[in-house]
């Protein structure tokens, strides 16, 4: 029995150690920010906010983007947090229709291009964007004397047979973004024909980005030199190389209309007891200080035009001029229809 009580004691100590993060004094106010599991930020940036306003910021990760939005919706009567960051334009309508946000017209919006401000009532404020684009391994095309792909048409050219891996739009967020890009490019009447041509040209479909990028893409030793990933992936191949690299080993295709732009939003959750702090946090997220910290932590890019990009990005990042044009309301209305049609045509 002694052993047992010792074990219990160990457990209690371990446990109180594991959750003993709560402040001892009640005087410090706590602002809770709910976010998806890709959220990351530099410590110094958060500390500067905390010191400026004498507040402690508590983050909660509540799953991938879709899961996070659902959780925010399901807890709206008794919100878990004051602020929710991470709803993107493919889920924006769900958040707005379910009415989870309070409107807040932050002064920082003045520095943000109106094209990012998809919610005219300022319930969801844009924070960052990332483009889902085709990526290719440069070395493969050099070695095989083939021009790198430049358009969707190239992908169905027999010259590019069996070279492409894409993600399933039903299970993967870049997969859905790529499907939306093809819908934007070929229209609702034409995209399925394009996909059928892709299948005839031996497109490889997997369920998740990790498998596509780290198992199927030739840059990681897989068989396919073209993959659906992010416009930011090439600079990250430089930043997170094992040995310092002179040049990015991969590149993104940024021809007009071939990329889909994901924009992420932040909003103040209805029912917050800390509206004043929540406003300050939202404006802080839109300010250059936070915005400049975004790329290296979250691999997406600031919407604030005053934020300056790190030099690796300036050198290797290609931002497409024209991205696919599909509105959040069209996505909300047709998501199920499009994915089901795609599944029926392509997978069955």
């Amino acid at each position: 029995m002694k052993k047992l009580s010792f074990l219990v004691l160990v457990l209690v100590v371990l446990f109180t150690g594991a959750c003993g993060s709560k402040p001892i004094t009640d005087e410090v106010r706590i602002l809770t920010v709910m976010t998806h599991d890709s959220f990351a930020v530099s410590e110094s940036v958060v500390t500067s906010f905390e010191e400026k306003y004498g507040v402690q910021v508590q983050f909660l990760e509540i799953g991938d983007t879709g899961t996070a939005v659902n959780k925010a919706v399901l807890s709206k009567d008794n919100p878990l947090a004051d602020v929710f960051y991470g709803v993107d334009n493919t889920f924006l309508s769900r958040a707005l229709e379910e009415d989870i946000f309070e409107s807040y017209k932050s002064p920082a919006l003045d520095d943000i291009d109106p094209k990012f401000q998809l919610d005219s009532k300022h319930r969801a404020l844009p924070v960052d964007f990332g483009d889902v684009c085709l990526n290719y391994q440069k070395a493969y095309f050099e070695e095989n004397d083939l021009a790198p792909p430049d358009s969707f048409e190239d992908l169905v050219d027999p010259l590019y047979r069996d070279l492409l891996t894409v993600e399933n739009p039903a299970t993967s967020s870049p997969g859905l973004a790529f499907l939306l890009a093809t819908i934007g490019y070929y229209g609702e009447d034409g995209y399925l024909d394009f996909w059928q041509a892709l299948v005839e040209n031996q497109v490889n479909i997997v369920n998740d980005w990790e498998t596509a990028y780290y198992a199927e893409f030739s840059q990681a030793g897989g068989p396919d030199p073209i993959v659906v990933s992010y416009g930011s992936s090439p600079p990250f191949e430089v930043l997170f190389a094992e040995e310092p690299l002179e040049d990015a080993p991969t590149a993104a295709v940024t021809s007009p209309g071939t990329c889909f732009r994901q924009i992420e939003f932040v909003g103040i959750l209805k029912g917050t007891q800390n509206r004043d702090l929540a406003e300050k946090w939202v404006s802080f997220m839109l300010s250059p200080e936070f915005q400049e910290d975004i790329p290296l932590n979250m691999y997406v890019f600031p919407v604030n035009s005053k934020a300056v990009l790190n030099e690796t990005f300036q050198k290797y990042l290609e931002i497409p001029e024209i991205t696919a044009d599909v509105s959040p309301s069209a996505i909300a209305a047709n998501r199920e229809k499009w994915i089901n049609a795609w599944t029926e045509t392509i997978l069955r």
Binding site: V41, F59, T67, L176
Partner: protein, 575 residues
């Protein structure tokens, strides 16, 4: 020890107050399973508008859902049969023989069970993918242009991965039971002229059936609710019910349909478990159990050594090679692959794990993540045993009360419940003080316990119910209270099974089953969460770090399992 009021010499165990034994398990299940599940189902169905109920029925009976159901059942059935075929010979070797390296081998077979699916998939890709070692080797030696082995995105890949994950369930539950089976009966059969096969078929196997059935049930439910394996190794053309629930919930936010599918899944688990309990009730019989000194032999002759060597080799190839491939990836540069002149070997990934170049707020050194994982693991072991032992004891009685019969299958339900649904259930149900646990770190081991609890019960019940009642009667006649009977009769006899139960609880927690549906405090991530964070980013260094941390997880799990093998539950573990 309280003086017992029912110190009757007649089968004291059956008189032990059922309600008392059931109180803790029921309270736990009520608060952390039925209440959240009921809340989310109620909320989901309340989102159906008027006539949509008929639409719901149409959706459920649609060809898509029927296909999904058929596939879910089919793959689970084949996976379970294969897992038994692979696991039973190994269980025999572990149960009946003593040999060098057995402990480490046993511990090794548990490691697959805890590895995150994404990482295991990477191991399988490195071995059997289109540019994996096997295909590259075959292409080189046979001068082929295309990879000859098509493995990923096939039905075979799903089955293989399921066997890889779940063989340890059969090895542990059946192997442990086998090691306690008195060899006298088999010896008698041999003396009477039965050959080895006849003995196995007529004597050993029927006696083993309760343990085999328990293991098969657990494996089947695990396969039936499979998510990651089907998603990642099966590819887009396969979907289980669990995958469909995820898609309906997250992607389409069709909560009524998702809830209906969840109910379907739970009902199926219930039916399966009811059938199992019916069968196992007729199988369980008290048999004389023996100490391992008597049941286990060294591999004395050449034939038995060759056979054991062959079985062990197969197990090793099957269970260890994907893990070895993974460990290999953690020390070979990703970019060096295919390019000449690059280094063949690097420790850069391991070094990078303890660096935080971006000064990220959520960076944690690997030791912290390991501490968090191990802490949750220990709490889960504690909770699952606290709840599981009384429940198993209640179920091991000879004469089950109505309450026992009803509750037995109910215990298994959390295992067959969709993690996505239950995760949302926690969110909507546990939102008021004193139970506002939505963002509490406590919810993690609680969720793990829901999965571990059925394992504990299923590994303990066969051992407990095989105890000869006359042992307990004798003890009771001699004046022992039920508590003393448990301590001095039952505990020594089930010490080994308790260990099996504890190791399952530990593995389930370390492997993070279903916890992705919970809310995470990012400053205290578990190891699988850190691995996932690394894997979701581009760049060779991130990928390499994920592999390095997975390798560390393997080693630590192995260490944990070995340590448990030494933990003898005081002096009563063996007799």
């Amino acid at each position: 020890m309280k003086p017992s009021t029912n110190r009757s010499p007649h089968i004291p165990l059956s008189k032990s107050p059922s309600l008392l034994l059931w109180f803790l398990p029921l309270a736990f299940l009520g608060i952390f399973y039925f209440y959240p599940l009921g809340s989310i189902l109620k909320l989901s169905f309340s989102r159906t508008e008027g006539e949509i109920l008929t639409g719901l029925w149409d959706s459920v009976t649609s060809p898509t859902v029927r296909n999904v159901l058929g596939f879910t059942f089919r793959q689970a059935l084949f996976s379970t049969i294969l897992t038994l075929l692979v696991g039973l010979p190994g269980a025999y070797i572990f149960g009946r023989h003593r040999f060098k390296g057995k402990k480490i081998l046993r511990a090794l077979t548990g490691v697959p069970f805890v590895m995150p699916t994404l990482v295991v998939a990477a191991g399988f890709y490195a071995l059997l993918g289109p540019t994996g070692w096997i295909n590259l080797g075959l292409m080189k030696s046979l001068r082929l242009d295309t990879p000859p082995v098509q493995f990923v995105n096939t039905f075979a890949a799903i089955l293989t991965a399921h066997v890889f994950y779940n063989t340890t369930i059969v090895l542990r539950i059946v192997g442990d039971f086998w090691s306690r089976l008195d060899p006298q009966l088999e010896g008698a059969a041999r003396v009477l002229g039965a050959n080895r096969w006849q003995t196995l078929k007529e004597i050993s196997f029927p006696l083993l059936l309760p343990a085999v059935a328990a293991a098969a049930l657990l494996v089947f439910i695990f396969d039936f609710t499979s998510f990651g394996v089907v998603l990642i190794l099966g590819g887009p053309q396969f979907a289980t019910l669990e995958v469909e629930i995820y898609y309906q919930t997250i992607s389409l936010f069709n909560l009524p349909l998702a809830a209906t599918l969840s109910v379907l899944q739970v009902c199926f688990t219930l039916v399966l478990t009811v059938v199992y309990t019916r069968i196992s009730a007729s199988l369980n019989r008290p048999i004389s159990l023996s100490s391992r000194e008597r049941t286990q032999h060294p591999l004395h002759n050449r034939r038995s050594r060759i056979m054991a060597g062959f079985i062990i080799l197969l197990l090793l190839i099957f269970l260890i090679s994907p893990l070895a491939a993974l460990a290999g990836r953690s020390i070979t540069p990703l970019a060096g692959k295919g390019t000449e002149g690059g280094p063949l070997f690097t420790l850069a990934y391991f070094r990078a794990l303890s660096q935080n170049p971006r000064e990220s707020l959520f960076y944690v050194p690997p030791t912290t993540a390991l501490g968090v994982s191990l802490g949750y693991g220990l709490i889960t072991v504690f909770l699952a045993l606290t709840l599981g032992v009384p429940a198993a004891w209640a179920l091991a009685k000879k004469n089950l009360t109505l309450l026992d019969r009803v509750l037995d299958p109910v215990l298994m339900l959390p295992l067959g419940t969709s993690a996505v649904t239950l995760g949302l259930g926690f969110l909507v149900a546990l939102d008021q003080p004193p139970l506002d646990l939505r963002a509490s770190p406590l919810l993690v081991p609680i969720a793990h316990t829901l999965v571990a609890f059925p394992f504990v019960v299923r590994s303990l019940t066969p051992a407990l119910s095989s105890i000869q009642p006359n042992l307990r009667q004798a003890a009771a006649v001699l004046g022992a209270s039920p508590g003393q009977v448990f301590r001095y009769i039952d505990l020594p006899l089930i010490g080994r099974a308790l260990l099996v139960a504890a190791s399952f609880a530990f593995m389930i927690s370390i492997g993070e089953f279903g916890a992705s549906a919970l809310i995470v405090r990012p400053e205290y991530p578990t190891v699988p969460i850190v691995i996932f964070r690394l894997l979701s980013r581009p760049g060779a260094l991130n990928y390499g770090q994920a592999m390095a941390l997975s390798t560390i997880l393997m080693v630590v799990t192995l260490g944990g399992m070995l340590l448990m093998e030494h933990f003898r539950l005081g002096e009563v573990g063996e007799f």
